[in-house]
């Protein structure tokens, strides 16, 4: 480990203690069956059921817009700031830019994350940007950049989807003009089952194939609901075309399911503002 002169440094080498626990000897198949059996999952959900979602706006007083979301155990906070000049840019651009920074808090995952962004976080930042770019009316702030910062406080699975939903809400809260409300859902495939809104455990299990030759993988989809446009789609793993197509349909529906909740949250915020202004 190189010494970071701008932080307090620990000892040179540290190892997470989780590696030394008693080995889990169960095969992946049994582990997965424990997670999901006969269409009922560990947390008593059906395969296409969302976890409980709690969402609120205006949590960061210093930010222009902010929101906080709890997707089951997953907790994400997002803040949005005023447009600022695009750094290192000299030519005039007709469309504004948005810049996303997705970060896991060091203690948010089972394995400790470093303070610097790693490649996974950079990848997620890019996906977030992709998802939000087509939702924001970028021509309204030419030449400027809106910064969006997402911080995962606790990763309980589907953190990226949570961050995208929260970011969409934070943008509306900041009064950034938007074409539509954005929702996002993560889905996992394993052993012929399709699970909506993954927990962390399910996420890990969907990443590697179980012995037989069925599809496995994770799909994330973000939807602009009014215009029914997919603004971002991301899949990993190993899936047949039929599986992917089916997932797309499942996810579109799942995304629409949470729209009313987003609308309610936002409406609450508007009502509050209207009342204050009277």
């Amino acid at each position: 480990m190189t010494i970071d002169h701008k932080r307090i440094n620990g000892p040179e080498e540290t190892i997470p203690y989780e590696l030394f626990q008693k080995l889990n000897t169960k095969s992946l198949t049994t582990q997965f069956n424990e997670c999901s059996k006969d269409g009922i999952r560990k947390d008593k959900r059906k395969t296409d059921e969302h976890r409980k979602i709690f969402i609120t706006t205006g949590v960061v007083s210093q930010a222009k817009g902010s929101s906080y979301i709890e997707l089951g155990n997953t907790k994400v906070i997002v803040s949005v700031f005023d447009p600022r000049e695009i750094p290192n840019r000299t030519d005039y651009s007709l469309k504004g830019e948005i810049d996303c920074e997705f970060k896991f808090a060091p203690f948010s995952c089972p394995k400790r994350k470093l303070q610097q962004q790693d490649s996974e976080e950079k990848h997620y930042s890019a996906i977030m940007k992709q998802a939000l770019e087509s939702a924001v009316c970028r021509h309204e702030f030419p030449n400027f950049q809106v910064d969006i910062y997402a911080l995962v406080l606790h990763n309980g699975g589907s953190a990226l989807s949570a961050a995208i939903i929260a970011a969409g809400l934070a943008l509306s809260h900041a009064g950034v003009p938007m074409y539509d409300l954005i929702t996002s859902v993560t889905l996992g495939l394993q052993n012929g089952e399709k699970l909506v809104d993954l927990t962390l455990e399910e996420e890990t299990l969907c990443l590697s194939p179980i012995a037989d030759s069925k599809s496995h993988g994770i799909v994330v989809l973000s939807l602009l609901s009014t215009h029914e446009q997919v603004s971002q789609f991301f899949q990993t793993g190993n899936l047949t075309l039929e599986d992917v197509v089916e997932c797309t349909h499942l996810l579109t529906k799942a995304c629409k399911d949470i729209v009313p909740l987003i609308q309610k949250t936002l409406a609450k915020h508007v009502v509050k503002n209207v009342k204050e202004s009277i």
């Binding site: 590696l19 087509s134 047949t240």
Partner: protein
């Protein structure tokens, strides 16, 4: 590259008529040139030229320690370098965003053990494994980078020779490996299912493959489909713009069929590559 509205309309009309600006049909690729073993001191290498897009890939292999959480697996790392030769915008760290996007898409496409089995790279559980560095140098950008990069990577991995470990001795904390001295005593990597990516661009109401730079500019949304065998290993949306779910599904279907064709073509091309070729950039 900046396009004015009239130029965009021209491209759009071309796509509608199924007669694109360079004369191709919607599902056609531009001509490709592929060479392997072009970097003499790498374990494997390939150079792919897809019209104006030029990619050079070299594979280097080192001995490493497996990740503690995956003791049975070797490692593969993709590193993309956008050379400033391609465009002055890449000077310094200018190409980093693109490079990260490309390397991330490669690593997700190779993530599943069905696409590329890392467990074959393990030498001794938890102690020693091979680490494959796939270094991609982008020399010229003429559109459709994802396809070109994935093809070149697959070709370079096909070309790569993994040293043969004859035996491993463990003595407490010391591990001795006996690597075959014989120069031709090597293993080939299994890359049968290594993914091939296809970029599908939506222009107007139609989807095309292998967009050139002008077409990329006119696209209202595009997806990259990584095809591994007859399955999909990664699908991701790129660039600004959104797609209707139906369009999305259609593009994936198109990408899936084209990807399989492309994979087949690559496979045939690889078999035909002559043993001793020395052309490189002098051709």
């Amino acid at each position: 590259m900046a396009l004015c509205e009239a130029e965009k309309t021209f491209v759009l009309h071309g796509v509608e008529e199924n007669f694109r600006i360079d004369g191709r049909e919607r599902e056609d690729y531009r001509p490709m040139e592929l060479e392997t073993s072009i970097v003499s001191h790498a374990f494997g290498s390939a150079r792919l030229r897809l019209a104006n897009t030029d990619v050079l890939v070299a594979v280097k292999i080192e001995v490493d320690i497996p990740f503690p959480e995956k003791p049975n697996e070797g490692k593969i790392e993709f590193f993309v370098d956008c050379s400033a030769n391609a465009t002055p915008d890449f000077e310094g760290r200018g190409g980093e965003d693109l490079a990260i996007e490309l390397s991330n898409s490669l690593s997700t496409a190779y993530q599943s053990s069905r696409a590329f089995d890392l467990s074959k790279l393990c030498i001794l559980k938890g102690r020693k494994c091979w680490k494959i560095y796939v270094d991609i140098l982008l020399l010229e950008c003429g559109g459709n980078l994802f396809d070109a990069v994935s093809l070149a990577v697959k070709a370079a991995l096909w070309n790569a020779q993994l040293p043969l470990v004859k035996s491993v001795h463990v003595d407490g904390n010391n591990i001795e490996m006996d690597v075959s001295e014989e120069l031709y005593d090597c293993q080939k990597l299994d890359i049968k299912n290594a993914p091939v990516m296809v970029t599908v661009c939506k222009i107007g109401d139609y989807c095309i493959v292998d967009p050139n730079q002008a077409e990329e500019k006119c696209s209202v949304g595009s997806i990259v489909v990584a095809v591994s065998g007859d399955r999909l290993s990664t699908v991701l949306q790129t660039g600004a713009g959104s797609l209707h779910p139906t369009t999305l599904v259609e593009s994936m279907k198109l990408g899936h069929t084209v990807g399989q064709r492309l994979n087949q073509a690559l496979w045939e091309a690889l078999q035909q590559i002559p043993e001793d070729q020395d052309v490189g950039f002098l051709k």
